[in-house]
C-alpha cells in the first residue's frame, strides 16, 4: 500500500510568489495567531500538482487552522497563500471555485435530502447541467440509494460520505480534507482511498490532515508534521531514494517528530 513518491522538500525562501499555477498550493511566510497565541509561524509549504500531502500533528498544532486558511475561511495575519494559482488575498472567489473542503462538519442541511443539498451547492458553484453530476458523485460515494433521504436520517458515516460528495461536486483542483477518516467504516475508508488515488492520478492535488499514521502513509505522497507553527518534512532525507523499503524509517521519523511535542 505504501506508495510515497520521490518528493523533495522545496526550499521556498527567496523564491518569488507567483500567481501561475506551477504548484497546486504555495504558502510563504504564513502567520496566524489567535489573540496572543501564535498558531502558525513563518510557515512555508508547497504541494505539487498530482500529489497528496498528509499533515500530522498533535492536537492544537494548527492543522485545522492551516486548512481553514487554505479554504479561504480564515484570513492569515501575514504571508502569501496561493491555491491553484489563485492568490487567496486578492482573488478568494476564484480560488474557492477550485477548492473542495471536507471538514469536521458536513456543511449540509439536515432537513434537505442529499440530492437537494448537492443541487443547492452545485447552483452556488454555478454548475451547468448539474443533475447528472449530482447522481455521479452520489454513486461515487455509494449513496445513490439514499439520495432522496434527508440528511438527518443518515448515519454519521453516511453524512461524511455525503460531505465528500459535496466537496468533489464541482471537480475542484485541490481537495482539503480535515481528518476525513473520522466516523467512516472500513468500506467508506476504502471508497475514500480510491477516490483520493483517482484524484491525484488525474493531476489534481490533495492536502489532508489525519492522526492515523497507517492511512496517512498509504494515501499520501508526502508526509509533513505540523509542529511549532511550521510544517516539517521528516521524510525529506529518505525521499531521495524513493524506495518503499524506507517506509519504516519514514514512519519512525514521523513518530519522533510527533513525540517531540507541539
Amino acid at each position: 500500500m505504501f506508495h510515497f513518491a520521490v518528493a523533495l522538500c522545496v526550499p521556498l525562501c527567496g523564491t518569488p510568489m507567483t500567481t501561475q499555477p506551477t504548484e497546486a498550493v504555495l504558502v510563504r511566510s504564513l502567520e496566524k495567531s489567535f489573540g496572543e497565541w501564535p498558531v502558525l509561524w513563518n510557515l512555508d509549504l508547497s504541494v505539487p500538482w498530482g500529489q497528496a500531502l498528509v499533515l500530522f500533528g498533535a492536537n492544537g498544532a494548527g492543522k485545522t487552522t492551516l486548512l481553514r486558511i487554505l479554504a479561504t475561511h480564515v484570513k492569515a495575519d501575514h504571508g502569501s497563500v496561493a491555491v491553484a494559482g489563485q492568490n487567496l488575498r486578492s482573488r478568494p472567489e476564484n480560488a474557492r471555485r477550485r477548492i473542495g473542503v471536507v471538514g469536521h462538519r458536513s456543511l449540509l442541511y439536515d432537513d434537505l435530502t442529499c440530492r437537494e443539498n448537492l443541487i443547492y451547492y452545485s447552483r452556488l458553484f454555478g454548475l451547468k447541467d448539474h443533475k447528472p453530476r449530482v447522481d455521479e458523485v452520489l454513486a461515487k460515494v455509494r449513496l445513490g440509494d439514499r439520495a432522496d433521504h434527508r440528511v438527518r436520517t443518515l448515519s454519521n458515516g453516511m453524512q461524511k460520505r455525503a460531505s465528500i460528495a459535496r466537496a468533489i461536486l464541482h471537480q475542484p483542483d485541490v481537495l482539503l480534507l480535515d481528518e476525513p477518516e473520522t466516523g467512516l467504516d472500513r468500506e467508506s475508508v476504502s471508497i475514500l482511498g480510491t477516490l483520493l488515488a483517482e484524484w491525484t492520478d488525474s493531476g489534481r492535488s490533495v492536502v489532508m490532515t489525519t492522526h492515523d499514521l497507517d492511512l496517512g502513509m498509504s494515501w499520501g505522497h508526502r508526509a509533513g508534521v505540523l509542529r511549532g507553527g511550521k510544517v516539517n518534512f521528516p521524510d525529506a532525507e529518505f525521499a531521495e531514494t524513493g524506495n518503499p523499503a524506507n517506509e519504516p524509517d519514514i514512519r519512525q521519523a514521523i513518530i519522533s517528530a510527533l513525540e517531540a511535542g507541539r
Binding site: R68, A71, T72, H73, V74, K75, E93, N94, R96, R97, I99, V101, G103, R105, S106, L107, L108, Y109, D110, D111, L112, E116, Y120, Y121, R123, L124, F125, G126, R166
Partner: protein, 224 residues
Amino acid sequence: MNGLLGPMMVIVWKDLLLELRSKDLVVSIVVFGLLVVVVFNFALNNTPGRSEELAPGILWAAFAFSAILAMNRAFVRDQEQGGLEGLLISPVSRDAIFLGKALTSLIFMLLVEAVLLPVYAVMLDFSALSWYLMLTIFLGTLGFAVVGTLFSAMAVQTRSREIMLPVLFFPVLLPVIIASVEASTRAIGGETFIGLGRWLPLIGVFDAIFLVICPWVFSFVVEE
C-alpha cells in the same frame, strides 16, 4: 448582476424549502403577532372611537416584535448546521449572501404580515385597503429585513443572541418605526401620497442607505 441575482435566488430557494419542511418560523411568528395585538388591544383599552389613533402604533409594535422573532432565526440554521461556512467557502460574493438572506427575511415577514394585516384590520377596526398603507408596510419591512439581517449575522456569533439582537436592532430602527407609524396613521386616515408628507420618503432613504452600508459591513462580520 447575474452574479448577484443567481446566488441570491439559490439562497432564497434553499431557505424557503427548509421553512416549507419545518414550518416552525412562519407559524410561530403568526401566532406571536396575533398575541401581541390581543395584548395591546386590551392593555390600551382600544375603543371604537380611538381605533384610528391607536391602530398604527399597535400594528407596528406587532410587526417590529414579529421581525425580531424572524431575525433571531435568520442565521441560526446556517450556523448550527454549518451552512454559513458552506456559503463562505463557495464562490459566492458576500454581498450576494447578505442580499439573499435579507430577501428571504423580507419574504417571510411580508408573508406573515399578509396573514396578520386583515386580522389586525378587523380587530382594530380600520381599513387596510390603502395602497399607501401597503407601500408603507413594504418599505418599513424592507428596512427591518436589511438591518435585521446584518444584526442577526452579528448576534448569531454571540452566546446571548436572543438578547443581543433586540438591543442592536431597535435603536437603529427607531427612525423607521416612527416614520412607519406616522405614514400609516395618515394612510389609514385616507390621506394621499402628498398627505403622507416626508415620512414615506424618509423610510425610502433609510432603506437605500442601509442597503448600501449593510452588505459592506456584513463582509467584515462573517470574516474570521
